[in-house]
């Protein structure tokens, strides 16, 4: 278990708090310069925050109150740097052996090489390896010390997209064999959502929200987080109580809501809110085969734009009311084809009330 609480008013500013259990992969996400890598460097002992605590397995690595600050040599971290930082004058096996507790134990080196599928490349120099192979050496070296925590700083940014997809699968398979907390720093939300059990959004050195990928991407706590996690349908409206039935007033449309919002309204008749809906939860009323849920918040819309990528068609819709805002909908490519959807078509969609997430300003 890794517990991190850090604050620093200086440059870079820090105000972060999160925990990561053994065997869990936690992704720190946020835009470039958000302070993600600084947090990783604090955990490794390469940067000292003004205040806070870093505990690994109930042992203080850093505690500003007790003046504890272990050196990187005493923290037992496995660190994979963005550019891998392989020692260019050492072979693959020498790179790994350098980090081993028993530097002469060849069996450990061989075992690590086979775990990352690099058997037979032990005598190569880093410049003789591909980007993907270099990353695997960096991971093997990080594991060579039998670390308490594995830190991965943008480990996929230095490889091409095709290699990246392979490495995602490899990391996913490798992490199942590891029982230490793994912290991944990335600015790629899809990558984080794909690999991590927990996401922590960081912006300007501050943790904004921690949660499971599904929850964080579809139910952000604030409009700022929604923008940071690239929520595609983010609007403003008013929550209203209409005869004890709660509605979302969005320009000239009233949308039904599922939950009881009386505590949020706190006696008021209405409350300004931001709201989101996942593009996958905007349901097309199929022309050939009507589906259930057609009665749920039905709206008429015209298709402004269509874009298909890897079997998913993203459709940009303009509602046929005075509402000028555009809403995005994701449907399977074959559904779009079967319904003969095209730009300028008028279609009918449902905004599922269970998928509407309100954010209080």
């Amino acid at each position: 278990m890794l517990e991190v609480t850090l604050s620093d008013p200086g440059q870079p500013t820090l105000n972060v708090e999160f925990t990561c259990s053994s065997g869990q992969l936690l992704a720190l996400v946020g835009p470039s310069g958000a302070g993600k890598s600084t947090v990783l460097r604090c955990i490794a002992g390469l940067h000292e925050a003004a205040q806070g605590q870093i505990r690994s397995n109930n042992r203080d690595w850093f505690n500003s109150d007790n003046k504890v600050n272990l050196t990187p040599q005493h923290r037992r971290v496995g660190f994979v740097f963005q550019n891998y930082a392989l020692f260019p004058h050492l072979t693959v096996s020498e790179n790994i052996q350098l980090a081993q507790t028993d530097k002469t134990d060849v069996i450990v080196t061989t075992d690590l090489l086979s775990r990352v599928r690099l058997t037979g490349l032990d005598n190569r120099y880093p410049h003789e390896l591909s980007g993907g192979q270099q990353q695997r050496v960096a991971i093997a070296r990080a594991l060579a010390r039998n670390p308490d925590v594995l830190l991965l700083d943008e480990p996929f940014s230095a490889v091409d997209k095709v290699t990246r997809r392979k490495l995602y699968l490899e990391l996913n398979s490798l992490r199942r064999q590891l029982d230490m907390p793994i912290i991944l720093v990335t600015h790629d939300l899809d990558e984080a959502a794909m690999l991590a059990d927990t996401l922590v959004v960081i912006h300007h050195g501050k943790t904004l929200q921690q949660g499971e990928p599904e929850q964080l991407l579809h139910k952000p706590n604030t409009a700022d987080i929604a923008k940071l996690v690239d929520v595609r349908n983010l609007f403003t409206g008013r929550l209203i109580n209409k005869n004890n039935s709660f509605k979302l007033e969005w320009n000239n449309i009233e949308l039904d809501l599922e939950q009881d919002y009386s505590s949020e309204l706190n006696g008021q008749s209405s409350l300004p809110v931001s709201w989101t809906i996942s593009p996958a939860k905007v349901i097309l009323h199929q022309r050939v085969k009507p589906s259930r849920g057609e009665q749920e918040n039905p709206v008429q819309a015209s298709i402004i734009e269509m874009l298909t990528l890897r079997g998913v068609t993203t459709i940009l819709l303009k509602l046929s009311t005075d509402n000028h805002e555009l809403i995005q909908m994701d449907i399977s490519e074959h559904v779009a084809t079967r319904n003969q959807l095209a730009v300028d078509n008028m279609i009918s969609v449902s905004l599922l009330s269970s998928a509407i997430h309100l954010i209080y300003n």
Binding site: L46, Q73, F81, A85, F87, P88, H89, L98, T101, A144
Partner: protein, 224 residues
Amino acid sequence: MMDWQALVISLKLASFTCLALLPIGLVIAYVLARSQFFGRGFCEALITLPLVLPPTVLGYFLLVSMDQNSFLGDSFVSLTGQHLAFSFMGLWFASLIYSLPFAVQPMLRSLEQIQPELREMAWCSGLSKWKTFLKIELPLAWPGIVTAMVLTFSHTLGEFGVVLMIGGNIAGETRTLSIAIYDSVLAFEHEQAQMMSLTLLAIALVTITIVYTFNRRHRHLLRL
């Protein structure tokens, strides 16, 4: 005819200077490369000064500092009973000063070129700062160190102005090959001057060629 005694003095001076400047230069270069402190720019300027200062000016100041009435000259006399000026020791001391930039600059540049992540990675791998220096920084800075040593050797071997000011022209003590060449020219012994000049030229050419070849191979090996 070749002045073998002068050649031996020159080679001895160049070798001793190299041996002393290897650790001194490395320590200075490491401190400059790895730490930020007030007056860093001034220190760098001071080390580089002998590169731009006329050798006679540098020689003059060194000669004054070695005078028996100065702190350095007086301390040396009380310690050894000998004078620094016009002795091999004085010449060696002067060589350390005027060859310092030739030793420090290449070492400094090569240490600065090492990515900070490599040192940090070594620490995270459990290596102490000393072991990181020995196993990571020293091998990676090796071309710079070799360049520094060769430049120091060649430069010391050929220095004239400072040597004349500090050492004078005492045969078997301070008379180096470059002084011997000067003497030969003044005495119209052109054949002798030519032979000795060609010897210095050959030494310089061979050492520089070795450095370039070594550095190219090292760079090729590391793809730097």
